[in-house]
């Protein structure tokens, strides 16, 4: 048996693509790769591979549900694709973020105000690597004693999310090594989208994962509260043993399923050219299938693992996934894997809304009204991460905005296309269970809380600061809202065809690779043919706030001597009977951000004058002598500058309806207040 194991492992580690390792059994001695001549080997990525495939995993894991423990072993075939040699390896041990309440994750959680209190003993999670062996070349070299923990980001001695292992000799560029690890994990109560609640398991970031070696050295950050992950691409062969009858969903496609004599089943999954592997298991999933087909795009088999109480929402999940695959595919580039798994997480699992290669978690509620884009919004967003993150693999520790921002922007675009008439505001009452839909309040691409979120924290931090070092709680604003808003702005400024071409080029050039912010900027400038440094300096390297407005609109018959502020008197009645009307418009830059804007002045006779202002000065005055008086003036009439924090002051009219609107809303508010007063009287 052991010999068979060795043969299988050799086949899987040396010759990519590997076969499944489902026949391996846990508990025995770990298989060892045979020696290769010269020690470390030089194994290039196989021809036809879409990625560098320099971090390849063959993993076996067994779930012990009674104790919430994972027993795992893996062989990592890692190739040094940097220009430097390394005499050490660094691994992420993400589960140790919940090993104690002093980890960097826990500390940052407390700073951000998310931490409900110390994790209880039974809710903690950890990963204990029990064996590390170099299995390339010659007899296995036990490196277990050479491991230690490192906290490269903050020096926190209580944080054990990064493990460093010294090698007997350096791995040169293009050299390849095989490392065999064994570990035991305690699965935490679901936290940060991984863990267990009842019999629902979602396993993300669950195995020892090698960091990314760059020319500057190891890029292997600790697990932070506000950021996610970064890893090299490779091939994953994973065999998961779970109780028989439980459903398993995982990154990739199922290769085999085998019932074991001990009442368990081993599921084997495989995926190529991905940088992560997540899986889930539960006895309760409903397993639904559908297929995405669209002219010009490759078909995709969709698998939906649904909670029974959401059975009626299956088609909504599929429709949203189809929308994402279609529009992202048409706009940026096709989804290449041919299959995707949508996981509907269990209620209270805190596992919703997370992306993993070819698998993502959505999230919905038992009561999910049709005209509200939930679960559609999160489904499109997480499916969209297949493009921005899974395929274009930026570093989420350092540049989270690069995928989150692009994806938030793209999600809003898809929702605007596919759910134009079904994106209503809702609020939940009675403990947050009962939704109420406001049929009169439609949400557009900017309303969806992005602008409000950005306005609240526009200057809180610099987006160019590495994401894991953002001011607590700033990541959402900077990575999601602000970035999406300036991408909307860029689209409006450059025009959709140009901007789409920018994104498609960026996607095509950087898929299966690790772009940096400068790579994105470079593509946009190159494709648009414009030097947009002035813009990126403000929105990425600065905290400038944009706010343009009409400071004054004065219009009166020439020679009448009076200057008309907006007065409520009809402008048409003040139009000159035979002479001209003198109009003055003052446009002001209230913020420190500079952006070229249009100014549109409308006159009572229907005439329109459009001015172009570079927006640099603090104010600009325009005067007109026309046969009619002005009725309105508007800066940025097309709302190009989606970052403008105060769109209300962007225009002035000479017939303001503020009083009418205020009266209307006072009446509405009065009904609410009177009703509340009567509620108070209940206690009198």
């Amino acid at each position: 048996m052991r010999r068979l194991i060795q043969v299988l492992l050799v086949a899987s580690c040396v010759a990519l693509p590997r076969g499944p390792l489902a026949t391996l059994s846990l508990g025995g001695e770990h298989p060892v790769a045979p020696s290769r001549s010269g020690g470390f080997s030089n194994v290039p990525a196989p021809a036809g591979a879409r990625s560098a495939r320099n971090a390849n995993y063959a993993i076996e894991v067994r779930l012990r549900p009674a104790t919430h423990v994972l027993d795992g072993r893996e062989v990592i075939t890692w190739r040094n694709i940097s220009r430097v040699s390394t005499s050490e390896l660094r691994f992420h041990l993400y589960y140790n973020a919940w090993k104690n309440n002093r980890s960097t994750f826990a500390r940052e959680d407390r700073l951000a105000g998310f931490f409900p209190g110390p994790l209880r003993e039974q809710d903690l999670g950890w990963i204990d690597v029990t064996s590390i062996r170099l299995v390339t070349g010659g007899p296995p070299v036990d490196l277990t004693a050479a491991r230690r923990y490192l906290a490269p980001d903050d020096g926190n001695a209580d944080d054990q999310t990064v493990m460093i292992v010294a090698l007997p000799r350096a791995v040169a560029p293009a050299e390849s090594i095989d490392i065999a690890l064994e570990w035991t994990s305690k699965i935490p109560r679901t936290v940060a989208r991984t863990g267990v609640i009842a019999d629902y398991y979602f396993l993300g970031q669950w195995f020892p994962k090698i960091g990314v070696l760059e020319d500057q050295g190891w890029n292997c950050h600790q697990f932070h509260e506000s950021t996610e992950f970064f890893a090299d691409y490779g091939v994953y062969d994973v065999a998961m043993t779970v109780p028989r009858g439980w459903v398993v969903g995982a990154t990739g496609t199922e290769r085999s399923r085998r019932d074991n004599p001990d009442g368990t089943t081993t599921w084997s999954y495989r995926e190529e050219d991905v940088h992560d592997f997540a899986w889930t298991t539960s006895p309760n999933y409903l397993d639904r299938r559908a297929r995405f087909e669209h002219p010009g795009l490759p078909p995709v088999d969709m698998r939906l693992l649904l909670q029974p109480e959401h059975a009626s929402q299956a088609e909504r999940h599929f429709a949203a996934t189809r929308a994402a695959l279609r529009y992202y595919g048409e706009w940026f580039g096709p989804y290449p894997y041919g299959h995707i798994t949508i996981v509907d997480p269990a209620w209270q699992s805190h596992a919703g809304g997370m992306e993993y290669p070819t698998l993502f978690t959505a999230g919905t509620r038992w009561l999910a009204p049709e005209r509200v884009t939930s679960p559609e919004g999160v489904t499109i967003h997480e499916c969209g991460h297949q493009f921005w993150y899974a395929l274009v693999g930026n570093n989420e520790f350092e540049d989270a905005w690069l995928d989150e921002g692009l994806n938030t922007y793209s999600t809003a675009r898809v929702i605007a296309e596919a759910y134009r008439d079904a994106n209503r505001l809702d609020r939940r009452f009675l403990g947050g269970f009962v939704p109420y839909v406001f049929p009169d309040i439609s949400l557009d691409r900017f309303d969806d809380d992005g602008l409000a979120d950005y306005r609240r924290a526009a200057r809180v931090d610099l987006p160019s600061v590495p994401s894991y070092r953002y001011w607590p709680n700033a990541a959402g604003t900077l990575s999601y809202s602000k970035t999406a808003l300036w991408l909307h702005t860029l689209e409006n400024y450059l025009g959709w065809p140009t901007f789409r071409a920018c994104l498609a080029t960026y996607f095509d050039r950087w898929k299966f690779r690790h772009p940096k912010p400068q790579d994105f900027f470079q593509v946009v400038c190159e494709v648009s043919g414009q030097d947009l440094t002035w813009f990126f300096d403000q929105v990425y390297r600065g905290t400038q706030v944009f706010d343009y407005g009409i400071d004054a609109l004065r219009s009166a018959p020439a020679g009448s001597g009076d200057i008309l502020e907006p007065s409520g008197r009809p402008a048409s009645k003040r139009s000159p009977s035979g002479g001209t009307c003198h109009t003055q418009v003052v446009v002001r830059r209230y913020g420190d951000g500079v952006f070229p804007v249009d100014v549109l002045v409308r006159f009572a006779n229907g005439e329109r004058v459009r001015e172009r202002w570079d927006g640099r000065e603090l104010w600009k005055a325009y005067t007109y002598e026309r046969r009619a008086c002005a009725v309105s003036a508007e800066v940025d009439p097309g709302r190009v500058l989606a970052l403008d924090v105060n769109p209300t002051n962007n225009a002035r009219v000479v017939q303001p309806l503020a009083r009418r609107a205020a009266t209307k809303w006072m009446i509405t508010w009065l009904v609410w207040l009177q009703d509340l007063l009567l509620a108070y009287s209940y206690f009198a």
């Binding site: 209620w347 209307k664 009065l670 207040l673 009177q674």
Partner: protein
């Protein structure tokens, strides 16, 4: 007296005193108006000469609304989408049953309104107990006459309500509910539990309210001076007569019908403000009518159930004349 008779008698008593209904509605409107005008001024200032006002006048400009909400102070902080249409009543119900706090200005208005209601309650109960027209002088005399006793009762009731919200609510919804559902993964199971706890808390709240309602009734009808005695008497009355609960339940159903009807039919944001005003005030009139129905039917039930309500507390029919004296003059009041 049967529950049905008390209920129908209560309806007649409320309908025969329309000035009370209109007066309470007017009071409610006027109590809300100052804050409403503040909100109106804030909205008008925020919109200024912006064309967003046009969108807000025609329907909803949500972009402006978000901005306004962020900058709002005082009562304007409570200007949220939850005020639109049927959400208004659901929001208010939810805020009570979920023990959510309100903006200070709004809470102060609610507290003030409750005190005014406390003043009026004596006169209202007195009017329903007499079951005949009384002049405004007699009405306000009764208000004043019972206020001190009602104020003392309010302290006792206040302590009970504080205990309910601070202790029982906290125990149910911050203790039991999260502890029991901590590892639940099926949302509707948790919702079912929460609804059960709402029912439990609501029952406690209603029971408390019922006892203090009857304490007020006994103070008025029997001209009781001791609020403790009245409360104990009310407790005894409630305990011995299950019909009290049935009557409360029927009245409560009326409240639920009115509230549900408005929640379903309430005008949205795109209709004429005058239609919003008409529909909203009609709903509030109906709601006040139901609230008065609670009082009137409880008075009727008490008077019809307890012999001494008509015969024992029999003070001289001198000013401030007691309703018991009225009933003694024309015993017994059969509707």
């Amino acid at each position: 007296m049967s529950v049905a008779n008390a209920f129908t008698s209560g309806i007649r008593r409320v309908n025969h005193a329309p000035s009370l209904l209109v007066g309470v509605w007017l009071l409610t409107f006027l109590a809300a108006l100052p804050l409403g005008l503040q909100v109106r001024a804030a909205i008008a200032e925020s919109l200024g000469a912006s064309p967003a006002a046009g969108a807000a006048a025609r329907g909803v400009d949500y972009t402006w609304w978000q901005q306004f909400s962020e900058e709002a102070t005082g009562p304007s902080k409570a200007f949220s989408p939850a005020i639109v249409g049927g959400a208004a009543v659901i929001d208010n119900l939810s805020s009570i049953i979920d023990n959510r706090s309100h903006e200070i200005a709004v809470a102060a208005a609610g507290f003030t309104y409750a005190i005014v209601w406390l003043i009026l309650a004596g006169g209202i109960l007195d009017r329903y107990a007499r079951n005949r027209k009384v002049g405004s002088f007699a009405f306000f005399s009764a208000c004043g006459g019972y206020f001190a006793r009602f104020a003392r009762l309010a302290i006792v009731a206040g302590l009970a309500y504080v205990a309910l919200f601070a202790w029982l609510h906290g125990w149910l919804f911050d203790g039991i509910y999260p502890r029991v559902t901590a590892n639940w993964t099926v949302e509707w199971h948790a919702f079912a539990l929460r609804v059960s706890l709402y029912c439990l808390f609501g029952a406690a709240l209603c029971l408390c309210n019922l006892v203090f309602d009857y304490a007020k009734v006994r103070i008025v009808v029997e001209d009781r001076r001791s609020v403790v005695g009245a409360t104990i008497g009310a407790l005894r009355f409630v305990r011995r007569r299950p019909g009290v609960l049935a009557l409360y339940l029927i009245d409560g159903c009326c409240f639920a019908v009115v509230m549900t009807a408005y929640a379903l039919a309430a005008p949205g944001a795109r209709v004429s403000p005058w239609w919003t005003l008409a529909a909203g005030q009609a709903y509030l009139l109906a709601r006040i009518w139901v609230k008065l129905l609670f009082y009137a039917s409880e008075v009727a039930y008490f008077q019809g159930s307890l012999a001494h309500a008509a015969h024992l507390a029999r003070p001289l029919p001198a000013w401030p004349d007691s309703p018991a004296a009225d009933i003694a003059d024309s015993p017994p009041a059969k509707d």
